[in-house]
Amino acid sequence: MIQIIIKETKEFLRDKSNIFFFFIFPVMLVFLLGNLLANLDKAEEVIGEVRIHYGIEGISDIDFVTVKEFIKGLEDRKNFFFNETDDIASSIDLATDGGIDAVVLFKNDPMEIQIYEGTNRIKNRTVNSIMNGFTQLNKAVDIIIKNNKQALIDQPNYESDYIMHKDLGIKRTMLDYYAITMMTMMCFMSIMIGAICFMGERQEKTIIRLRIAPISRVKLFFGKILGLLPQTLLQILILMVFSSLLFGAHYALYLFDNIHLFFMFTVISFTMISLGAVYGLYIDVNPMAGILPVLWLMMFFSGTYSKEIVIEGLSKYLPIYQVQEAAFDLTIFGRHQKANTVIIVCLIISLAALVFGAMGFLRKEEK
């Protein structure tokens, strides 16, 4: 089996087109997409100053105090500027013309909040998020007051105790985004290597010699599959190392997280190779026609090429999207849960594919 693994690796590394498509091309894509599309796909938006006019009409005394405290807290952050107004209509006109960014009206008892949006999409999102946060907090405080008023008195510094600020530690760019998505792309593309590995032996007619040899077909099947793994590991390693060292792409902050990421992508590649081998054994359609279009579509709608192309209700069900999410969770936030789930699911799929593939290879006859 070792001889087969060595042979596979030698063959792969000596094919110049493989070197380009599997090693150089993905690294180039990270660089090209990361730089050329940086202006289209911004990883971070600068919100800038947000100017809000607000009005207060008929709210309770407690709500009044809460609103005032909330506004004061935001003003302390130095980029939110609130002005109280009695002339809501004029303020709305001003927001429509872009003179201010939003108008917020706090009214009635129980309190209702009306937001009149301005012209800037990002600032509108910001105002909505903040007011949504305020509403949730207000509701929570209401519930506590109704059930256990003493809790608020006993925990005066609840905000500092319960809200933790986490510094990401790295200034993220689009290079980081594409380093992950290109890695995901290459791992999923491993299905093609798996699909053509037996097709290649058949085309070169060497499959006959392999099958005549006194080596069990199961060993042969596993040898071929395992023989494809070193080149995939090399491919992941090269992409990680070169995109970081040459272009300054960032993965995770800590070494352990990066090892976890590498392991996750290795397992995904192995799964894809196994699935490809099953395809190659059972389906007689050229994988370029049978697999590649599906893969491209999946990648397209998973935000692999642009993070803006994500379809609500579809993308999150695509495996590529899920893998990218797991990778981002790991690299940006240091969270391992999704990555672990991906690894477990992939191992189960690999096992099933290997059993299914070995059975098929065992039964297949040369005509």
Partner: protein, 314 residues
Amino acid sequence: MSYVAVENLVKKYGDITAVDHLSFTVSKGEIFGLLGPNGAGKSTTLNIITTLTDFDKGKVTVDGLDIREHKAEIKRLIGMVPQDIAIYDHLNALENVKFFASLYGYGKSDLTRNAMEALEFVGLSDKIKVKPKQMSGGMRRRLNIACGIAHKPKLIVLDEPTVGVDAQSREHILNSIRLLRDRGATVIYTSHYMQEVEQICDSIAIIDKGQLIACGTETELVSMVTDVQTVFIKTKIPINFEKETFEKKIKLMPGVKGISEEDSVIKLDISVEQNNIGHIIQEFINFGLPIISIKSELPSLDTLFLTLTGRELR
């Protein structure tokens, strides 16, 4: 003593019967030619003998071992040289031969030695570092053979090993096959080049539509379709030669089927069984006809093959 025995072999692909109650034996240490038109069932038969394909009915033994019961042992005895060149383009000659020999469980030192011997045998010992892409068609063919014999098989199956090679390479390949036989290997050989088969095969089987049509040595096969051989006697005809009397006398001799003359060459059709050539030559002398040369011709294997399998295109 038969080394390979095929008895009542049947192989079907759906409704198509590729091999239909086929039986033949291959003696130990002989070169056995398996002939047949395209689609006759040659490849299926070879695939069955080499354990690549299972069969529906019948029995196949190699070296006395039943192919179904002793598949693993039989695999070790067989070396296959497929019709299509089955080598890896990205590995050099030595790496190719070593890889295929390694599948037979050889250790590192044995592997290199056997691979070198095989390459030397096919005349490629000076090309060990050359990749197949840089080789000529004939060299690739010879490498294809080396890959099939490096593990020193006792039964070598060669499926059209000389397709598309130049005269020198062909001669080298045919001599190598003879040498393999002389070293004790049993060879099953298929080819569409009848001349090659005539040249190297000790016995021949012709199959068509999955059935055995004829089997035996070349002479035995020829005698199956005709008992007439043609003898050409070149002479110098004197001025006073009594042609009619001479021809009448010869025709009356037992075994003579016909006589004709053209440009001082007398053509005689005579029975293979009642070969009367000695008496015929005596009559030439009696009539004062000097014998310059004698040439005898049996129908060629080509003619025999076409007679047995038909001339229509398939």
